[in-house]
């Protein structure tokens, strides 16, 4: 009796047991899905981001899921919606579940899921640029008015032609057209800390690489902990630059100077097996508020 033999045995048993344990609890919706086809009678599984997320804030506001009535605002997101607190969480769930629908930053979109057209317009950098794709929001950078020399230099790099080219290369839309070229100043050195939105972080990391390649003596720390944390850090000066994937709030704007660095579309994504190609804004709203719960109500 060797250990390998034993481990193999236990491994097989483990797999078997897990399957058995799950199997015993099954028996509810055993789908009538035939191979390859998409069964539209299935319930839509709505995947949303968590409350407070910049992406959710922008999405619910634009699609009308968030209802404003005087001073009152009500987020009517379907209460049975699965909540994921990251772009990848939403993508992995949608990629693995034929009947689900979610929304993510356009810059993160890849082949594992399918983006649907909204009002017949495909979600691409071009359609976001010319405003024909309706669901888009800015990525903002903010500082409290006291930028160090080196941070100021980094800031102008981001807003320069070189910086904006990186933004476009990462799949976002540039915020500044006809940006001036970046002129590197010799002998820049020091440390910059950038704190904020998890959605902005990926593009920020690439910007940092581009900048430090030109200014090797500068170190830039990027901390990814959320838009509000970033704004707070920028306000109290514990970070040089804050990142937000949403518009700034009034109380934040009192202290901070903000500038958009990119426009990001929000793609509505479904599983690649799903036959749906087009949705209207109204349908998106109905799905995310739970008014419509099966795919055939949409497909007609």
């Amino acid at each position: 009796m060797t250990i390998t033999k034993l481990s193999k045995l236990t491994l097989t048993m483990g797999v078997g047991l897990t399957l058995a344990a799950c199997g015993a609890d099954s028996g509810s919706t055993d789908s009538s899905k035939d191979a390859g086809g998409f069964d539209a009678s299935q319930t839509i599984n709505v995947i949303s981001r968590e409350d407070g997320s910049g992406t959710r804030g922008a999405f619910t506001e634009i699609t009308g899921v968030l209802v404003k009535d005087g001073d009152n605002e009500t987020d009517n997101t379907y209460s049975a919606a699965t909540i994921q607190n990251s772009t990848s969480g939403v993508m992995t769930t949608v990629a693995g579940d034929p009947t689900s629908i979610g929304y993510i930053s356009l810059g993160s979109l890849d082949d594992s899921v399918k983006a649907v057209n909204i009002e017949g317009i495909e979600a691409t950098a071009e359609t976001v640029q010319d405003n024909s794709y309706a669901i888009a929001r800015p990525f903002n950078l903010a500082h409290n008015g006291e930028l160090s020399e080196v941070a100021q230099d980094f800031w102008s790099y981001i807003m320069s032609a070189e910086g904006q080219e990186i933004v476009v290369g990462e799949g976002y839309v540039e915020a500044v057209t006809d940006a001036p070229a970046y002129e590197a100043t010799d002998g820049m050195s020091g440390k910059i800390s950038v704190v904020g939105s998890t959605s902005v972080t990926p593009v920020m990391e690439v910007l940092v690489e581009g900048y430090t390649a030109l200014n090797p003596d500068v170190t830039i720390d990027v901390t990814s902990n959320g838009s509000s944390a970033g704004m707070t850090a920028a306000m109290d000066g514990s970070a040089d630059i804050g990142m937000a994937s949403r518009e700034l709030k009034d109380e934040e704007l009192e202290v901070l100077t903000a500038e958009p660095i990119a426009i990001d579309g929000i793609a509505v994504i479904v599983n690649t097996e799903n036959s749906i190609e087009d949705l209207t804004m109204e349908q998106v709203k109905q799905i995310f508020t739970g008014e419509v719960t099966t795919w055939d109500e949409i497909a007609k």
Binding site: L17, T201, E209, D221, N225
Partner: protein
Amino acid sequence: MMASKLTRGFIYLAAAITFGSLFYVVGFILIKGIPYLNLDMFAWKYTTDNVSLMPSLITTLIVVGMTLVIATPIGVFTGFYLVEYAKKGNKVVGIVRIATDTLAAVPSIVYGLFGMLFFVTFLNFQYSVLAGVLTSVIMVLPLIIRSTEEALLAVNDSLREASFALGAGKLRTIFRVILPVSMPGILSGVILASGRVVGETAALLYTLGSSTNLPDSLFSSGRTLALHMYVLSSEGMHVNESYATGVILIVVVLMINGLSTFLSNRLTKGTK
């Protein structure tokens, strides 16, 4: 006879489920992650291309090392006080025990929030190695205290008496006689504490931050391996790399546990 067989059957089944799940978890991560391990991931500097885990590996070592340097003396000295100095029924002992037991039960997310409110905001350390380390110190203290206490209690009283009879003072007895004998137990507690820090995510997320750079001072931010895995998965572009990071994490944990077992076995033999 039938009942006996049935009992035995259930017991064997339960053991099979337990160790089956363990093998399944470890096997699954290894099989999924090993194919994605490559040399690029061990480059010195993190870029969005190579997704290197080297900076986080080194940060992990720094955080673990500093945590142990601070927590070990405090924990071991607490053990000394509780076992060697405090008199039976001492009020302080009771309070310290309750405090230790409660600390051990505090969930890591609460440690994280506390670290954020106290070290990061109140003491204004920012997201930094210092804030992360101090939070971890509090988190692992109960582990070290408990294992020291157990190790000291296991030391035969005749050793203490013999040492006193030879004219050694209390301090000398503790450091020259009792400490060497109880070393294996204390060490294995310390090593387990390092394992806890390696695997920690929730407590460090809000204290250490998640910078991809190697921290160059106590006040700069960094990320440990577990945090790296968490952040990679949140960004959504590097799922395969997070599997690979999972493999490295499991390997590190395996090494730590192996070292703990090996050391305590060897040292026990050495003293006998």
